[in-house]
């Protein structure tokens, strides 16, 4: 099924300046695998060597933070928007 990936401005230098793109995936985990294939540098900004989402990155499906639900196993439905944002804060 087709979903839209939107990425933070800070990651766009790794996507050739593209702010969003579509791909086929049924879960967030599958979407990340597809991102790794299509845009490996974007993937490295989002996940560490173990495949875990980096500590200060949040992935939203529509408006829901996947950390509050099933994480990488969050299921996707056609037309979902997956947003990858930095969780900036602190000081």
């Amino acid at each position: 099924m087709t979903v839209t990936i939107q990425i933070s401005a800070l990651l766009r230098e790794y996507s050739g300046g593209v702010p969003d793109f579509k791909l086929e995936a049924t879960s967030v985990r599958a979407a990340l695998a597809e991102i790794e294939r299509l845009h490996p540098q974007v993937y490295r900004g989002v996940c560490d060597e173990t495949g875990s989402v980096r500590k200060h990155v949040n992935i939203f499906v529509n408006t829901q933070n996947t950390r509050d639900g099933s994480g990488l196993d969050t299921q996707l439905t056609p037309g979902d928007v997956v947003m990858i944002l930095q969780a900036v804060s602190g000081g």
Binding site: N65, V81, S89, G91
Partner: protein, 370 residues
């Protein structure tokens, strides 16, 4: 009679105490206390016999609360520090705020992961405040770069305002028994929804007792140029409420940046408020030229205060608790930097001088006249 100005400087390597006369021309430094251990919060408690409290955040052997009854010549650990119940599942990672409570022996303490504790005996024993620590939102707050911290406790009679990063502003109107998220007008730039119910990265909240209902907030700004999902979110960084924190509006217009950490209110004028704008991407002084900005009309306009400060090549950060103002008739401001400097801004911030040039990185600065 109050005649000494006491400055508590919490650093990455312990607590320093600086003491001077009311002229504030010269300060004598002592410390570090709790040497080698980071101090994120301090309180000069002027209720009754003055005391100083400081958190000592030991990454190896846990959190401690230090207490001095001789104005910072000697410190001892209190009998215990805040701790989560054994079956809670959370473990204390840091102590971010210590504030006076209702009676002379009562203390409130905000910690990481975000939770609130209260002591009724000068910090010897602590109980968790359930209404916020186990709030239905509590397990949905997320840590940011500074950790998931409850850094601000503002008491106003039966009202209690809490600042949580990243949780937002929470308000109690029953003395701290129950809390509600109260973030109408408080924006966020790191979630899809620009104005969520909760989850904002509030940096600091301040109030003045002579302006009932009014609050000032330094929120996590810097989203004016954001071209990511959801679009730009300008001017959400510096805010004001006139209804006890139920709603907030921007007062950022006129500032060079709406990003910053501390916000401080003049002790004798509720319309006078100070912020220290920083460049959002680096969290350092814009163009390397540090400046405090002051509004004398509640945030309608701002003036840059930088006389005596470097005009270039200063790229430091002033953290959320690292700026304070004394309560003398002609008050002085104080701020500490991540490069280990402590500055004094005499005459309400008109003239600046570096008091200490080479301390460890400064986490917090608290001042009182005792």
């Amino acid at each position: 009679m109050s005649d000494r100005v006491v400055l508590c400087i919490g650093t990455k390597k312990g607590l320093f105490v600086a003491e001077g006369s009311k002229t504030r021309k010269k300060f004598e430094l002592r410390g570090p206390f709790g040497p080698g251990v980071s101090v994120y919060s301090a309180l000069v408690d002027t209720r009754g016999t003055p005391k100083i409290y400081a958190s000592s955040c030991n990454p190896f052997f846990g959190m401690k609360v230090l207490r001095s009854t001789d104005m910072g010549h000697k410190f001892k650990e209190t009998k215990s520090a805040p701790a989560f119940p054994k079956d809670d599942g959370r473990a204390l990672a840091n102590i971010w705020s210590i504030e006076p409570g209702k009676d002379k022996k009562e203390l409130w303490c905000g910690v990481e992961p975000a939770a609130l504790f209260r002591s009724h005996d000068n910090g010897d024993n602590w109980e968790m405040v359930q209404g916020i620590s186990n709030h239905e939102h509590a397990r949905k707050w997320h840590p940011g770069n500074g950790g998931l911290c409850m850094h601000t406790i503002v008491r106003d009679g039966n009202r209690v305002h809490l600042g949580i990063s990243t949780g937002g502003h929470y308000l109690s109107e029953d003395g701290g028994e129950t809390f509600k998220a109260s973030n109408k007008g408080v924006g966020a730039g790191f979630v899809p929804e620009p104005f969520p119910e909760f989850g904002q990265c509030v940096h600091k909240i301040a109030r003045h007792p002579d302006a009932p209902g009014r609050l000032y907030m330094q929120n996590h700004g810097g989203w004016a140029d954001w071209d990511g999902p959801g679009g730009p979110r300008p001017d959400i960084g510096v805010l004001r409420s006139d209804d006890h924190g139920k709603s907030w509006r921007s007062i950022a217009k006129g500032l060079p940046s709406d990003f910053g950490f501390p916000i401080v209110v003049h002790p004798n004028d509720p319309d006078t408020v100070y912020v220290m704008p920083l460049t959002p991407a680096t969290r350092t002084c814009p163009d390397g030229a540090p400046a405090v900005w002051r509004s004398e009309n509640g945030g309608n306009s701002w003036k840059r205060l930088a006389r005596g400060m470097p005009k270039k090549d200063s790229f430091y950060t002033v953290l959320r608790d690292a700026m304070d103002i004394d309560e003398l008739k002609e008050p002085s401001l104080y701020f500490g930097t991540t490069t280990g400097q402590v500055w004094i801004g005499r005459d309400g911030g008109e003239d600046w001088e570096c008091l200490f040039d080479s301390l460890p990185p400064v986490n917090c600065v608290k001042v009182a006249v005792v």
